[in-house]
Symmetry: C2
Subunit: 372 residues, 2 copies
């Protein structure tokens, strides 16, 4: 007792300096505020069309066996991924969604003062992890509605960044670069730096926008997920593909038994049902077209999307877009908008089913009139 500390915890200096931020407010919290359930849940880019019925059946069959821990190495899932992609299991690590893997990757590379380059307005959870490990975020602007791969790697070289974040397709704008542009950026990654290529939405994008896998290249690590096209956000399974040395380093720090058994089983069954995936992709493409039409019909400007959402320019300022989101929320339509100017003038709507988009289509003109 005879020390000078107060009773209770002594946080690390880094933790003591951190704000208590939460990257996103979830729709259930918004619903409690509203006192009602959303009529259309189109704000989190979830796959409203749901997972493969085969994945649902596999998970249901396994639910009574959930007294067993999940496996530490996701052996079956990694084998399926490796076989389809023509790579080795040693080039794959499975983790608790891309969010979890992002956290691990930042932790592997970044300590107090280390630089990370990303686009101003890109995925906030990356920024959250960088701050929480003491890293210094350096941003470059979007170029029009696109992330700017050449500018990102040039900035990384300039500031000596250890990590570069690039989402292709992008969120929140929904745009995509072709493979050649990405490959050029990879070739320009400075020594001592890794490009994190976030491909959460890759399944929705046109063929030819994803670069071929080259797991001999230590400059790039790619992350994909079962939360979007495979409709399994609720089981938290993502994976990273990269050079064997980098992939193996995750084993030094990850929560080895952090994956749920249900998620491992569901993800494998979903991945094996490529026919269902194709159906979902067709439905998402139709939904994107319809959202774009709804936008245009209401005087908003949709941005061509390679994802399962459409971001649209409301043609006014950020306050207007914010009011529109709030008004639609009050009408039971959950959507979001980009966090950073000038894109705060936009709203972002996830690809929904017919009935979801009926709700959106009916509510949008009323909301637009209400807030003018």
């Amino acid at each position: 007792m005879n020390n000078s500390y107060p009773k209770g915890p002594r946080y690390t200096d880094l933790v003591a300096s951190l704000p208590g931020t939460v990257p996103f407010v979830d729709p259930e919290t918004q619903e409690r505020g509203l006192g009602a359930v959303f009529k259309a849940r189109l704000g989190a880019n979830e796959n409203v069309f749901g997972p493969s019925p085969k994945a649902v059946a596999a998970m249901q069959a396994a639910d009574a066996d959930l007294w067993m821990y999940g496996t530490a190495d996701s052996f079956d899932l990694k084998n399926a991924l490796a076989a389809r992609y023509g790579i080795a299991t040693e080039n794959i690590v499975v983790g608790e969604g891309i969010d979890g893997l992002l956290g691990y990757l930042v932790r592997l590379l970044v300590t107090q003062g280390d630089r990370v380059v990303t686009s101003h307005g890109a995925y906030p959870t990356l920024n959250y992890h960088v701050a929480a490990y003491g890293g210094a975020l350096v941003t470059v602007p979007f170029n029009g509605n696109y992330e700017d791969p050449a500018a990102l790697v040039a900035k990384a070289a300039e500031v000596g960044a250890k990590l570069i974040y690039l989402a292709n397709p992008d969120n929140p704008m929904g745009t995509v670069h072709d493979a050649a542009t990405i490959q050029t950026a990879i070739e320009a990654v400075p020594n001592g730096s890794v490009l994190l290529l976030d491909e959460a939405y890759v399944e929705f994008a046109p063929i030819g926008t994803a670069v071929p896998f080259d797991t001999s290249d230590p400059r790039v690590i790619r992350m994909r997920t079962f939360s979007k096209a495979y409709g399994l956000a609720g089981v938290r399974v993502g994976y990273a593909i990269g050079h064997q040395g980098l992939i193996k380093s995750f084993d030094k720090i990850r929560n080895h038994f952090g994956l749920g058994r249900s998620g491992q089983i569901g993800a494998l069954a979903a991945f094996e049902d490529q026919d269902y995936l194709a159906e979902v992709l067709a439905k998402v493409a139709d939904a994107r077209d319809r959202i774009a039409r709804i936008a245009t019909d209401n005087g908003l400007k949709p941005i061509p999307s390679a994802t399962n959402f459409v971001t649209m320019n409301c043609g006014r300022d950020a306050d207007f877009a914010a009011a529109l989101v709030d008004d639609l929320t009050d009408r039971g339509v959950f959507i979001r908008r980009p966090f950073v100017a000038p894109y705060t003038r936009c709203i972002r709507v996830s690809a929904g089913r017919m009935q979801d988009l009926d709700v959106f289509e009916a509510a949008l003109p009323i909301a637009l009139k209400a807030i003018i």
Copy 2:
């Protein structure tokens, strides 16, 4: 490119110094080695009796909805916990199992060189997290088959530890201290230090061994799980209870959407089915008695257990116990043994169903004869 680094990642100094350890080899990996499925899975202290049928039904009903992310704050589950325990939701954080919460707590408190006190031979995953954040582990010996609460806090005062780990009931020995002993230790926690009371097995222990909740005390944080008595290891849900300030600090660093929706739903349904829990506890008590009888019948010395496993002294050296584990493994019986001398002379057997213990009972005498 004109820097002196090689192509690829620059790890933090800490990460570069870490070994690529894995805390446990999972039974599926062992099964692949054997080329067969275990006849009795009694090595990971899983609850072989399974989760509540109501939890199974709730999860099955939700499987088709797993396109939705889990909630960030586990609102419903925290409310149920708070109501039963008579505490506030602000005193609870739900996380990806105790393993996940352990990692977060270490990260909040421990940086390079900070001391953590634990028992020599206690939970290796704690040690894994401490090493991975650069902490220095200081151990005190068990006292007989018991952790030594007084020695742990005295050592913490001596070395200025920021964190003290104590499991009650204990793993791997299965012993428990009464509440008064724990309370005395809490009162002696030095300033600037937190006692992490791991209560993963608390539901199996006699009434009166858990101290009452006092969430005004910043010196102690308690962790509990749905992986053991509630039979939901496969969905990864645990929780920590403590002072509001410490609990809130988890929000600075945790993976806010790290919990599966299925797990949140299953855990809530399981927690609300206390009748089923009572049935399981009765079955576990019977299984413990039977394991103890089997041990005694075979000349081994069972240690009285307050958990869902029984650890037994084989009466010979560590090599003998290791050979016994290996031989039983080859016979399709998955068990483990403590990692640290002198307890490496013991084996640890989880409470199984009748059919599991039939397998163990038949195999044990044959294995004992085979290795002599």
